[in-house]
Symmetry: C2
Subunit: 320 residues, 2 copies
């Protein structure tokens, strides 16, 4: 948190911040969803944007200006459109902060501020990419408008790692059950609400579609009854990342319905693994729990299907 605090203080010593934009592609965009959601819920004045990097380059929103902080992420720091987006933002006079695992890298060279995050099974949860997105949101909100739960949320971020590590052990039997249950499915729907729409979306695009070549789509729990639920039959596979927060009622409503017609729903519920101990801000940090804990299931699913998570047919193999 110290580095984030220092960056935000340095920016605010020179100018105002009235807009925060989160920019990236794929998992480096969806990883920002919790931060975007947190600001959408808690900010009274700050504006927040969340946008694909290439859309930012080609259709740059007019609200992006000198009072905007543009936060961009790229794992290797070399995603061409994200680097270009940083350059476009610099050109406009916005402040750019680049989050990357690899330094030096083109993003690290282009962004005005750089945060090198941790990645992989040994990483500390609060030092991961998505956590830095949230920490930047928290720090900017607190230093501009003030946020009464700043200390509570900062402490919760620090306590998250222990909860995640224990859950990664405790979830194993359930993960084995559903890896076996879903191994032959050609379509899996992920579900979530509130901040948890983010990790549910990420699971669909980065794990099922990208790494397992399983057709997938995220359904927002609150949207389920307004179209999507008609695809439900007794064989439809669902994976829900249940919210511990204000939108839990939306998840329960969808679950109650699905369970009348289908028993093929894997409900991962962070509340059963002690997330509630983090206090009132747990709902904003819960996606960081799911990002990590679902990896246990993902590894087992890949093993059950004999389809390693590293297999690609196009990525890094064809020009695009």
């Amino acid at each position: 948190m110290q580095k984030v605090k220092q960056i935000v203080s340095e920016i605010l010593a020179k100018q105002e911040i009235n807009t925060v934009y989160y920019v990236g592609c794929g998992g480096s965009l969806s990883g920002f969803f919790p931060a975007k959601y947190f600001l959408s819920c808690e900010a009274k004045k700050l504006k927040v944007g969340y946008i694909n990097a290439n859309e930012f380059v080609h259709a740059t929103p007019k609200e992006v200006g000198k009072d905007t902080v543009v936060i961009l992420a790229s794992q290797r720091g070399n995603t061409a459109e994200t680097v270009k987006a940083a350059a476009v933002a610099n050109e406009i006079g916005a402040v750019t902060i680049g989050l990357t695992f690899v330094v030096p890298s083109p993003l690290a060279e282009t962004a005005q501020y750089v945060i090198q995050y941790e990645f992989g099974p040994e990483s500390i949860v609060e030092n991961q990419k998505a956590s830095y997105g949230v920490k930047l949101a928290l720090e900017i909100l607190n230093q501009t408008e003030g946020y009464e739960k700043y200390d509570e949320m900062t402490a919760a971020l620090g306590n998250l790692h222990g909860i995640v590590e224990q859950a990664k052990k405790d979830v194993v039997p359930t993960a084995i059950k559903y890896a076996w249950e879903f191994k032959d499915d050609s379509v899996i729907y992920t579900m979530g609400s509130g901040a948890c729409w983010g990790p549910a979306h990420q699971e669909a695009i980065c794990i099922f579609m990208e790494m397992q070549w399983i057709n997938a789509s995220v359904i927002h729990s609150g949207e389920f009854f307004h179209g999507p639920f008609e695809i439900t039959d007794k064989n439809t596979a669902f994976l829900m990342m249940k919210s511990c927060g204000h939108t839990r009622a939306l998840d329960d409503r969808a679950l109650n319905f699905i369970r009348k017609f289908n028993d093929r729903i894997f409900v991962l519920d962070a509340s059963e693994y002690g997330i509630g101990g983090l206090g009132d801000t747990a709902e904003y940090l819960e996606p960081l729990f799911y990002n990590n804990v679902i990896a246990v299931f993902n590894g087992l699913l890949a093993d059950a299907r004999k389809h390693p998570l590293t297999t690609r047919r196009y990525m890094w193999k064809f020009p695009y």
Copy 2:
């Protein structure tokens, strides 16, 4: 436009507007996407939100206040969570505008202002639900910050109907081809970028999933290469609603890739049907074109599959 202008003038005679929230469920939320996108691109100061009605009820964003206009839609005016969202917004002191096809109805009774829109094959495009969403955005933007293309966009809205009517005739052969091509597919991906992500999302959830029980998902063209493209093989079915605007390059990049591996992509391109004649603001109105023109294909697909668009297994039949 006259009624919209009057409503916005009346509001601004009494107070400021600094935030606009679009609230609904399913097609009544996705129909607002073009309006949301327009404000995200063009507004320099106005804040804009776009949120599922039940999420609005349970996790009401703190930025919603007395200077907020909450615009809600419900076809029959009786979607329980949307009516509740209007009541919640009223309680906070926000201004509420309800868009509905049915008056009197609970939404019409709850919202402070009511717009009854046209619906169905005989309706005038600019008087449809999604068009009122855009007109409200345009009017609020112009009356608060000013918008230099206000007159051009107002004229374009009026000219859209003729383009749509002609396109509904001209698209028939292509629609027949793809209705036959896709009739046995169990999964179809829709694609779009910019404002056209909205109708592409709507086609996936309201037509394929709800009305045809075909598994579906929308892929943002700019996100395609960052996960989703790995599901592409020679049999994958795609339907792209191509943008005529700033993000067209994103669509072309995805198309160029897909066509190397697959010839099962139905590209509906409003540019080929004269949308460009509407001028610079055409990209914001293009979703209104797709909402209407795709109906020709949807009807033929339903016929080819002997699965009427009105068939439901749960909606209106089970409590939920």
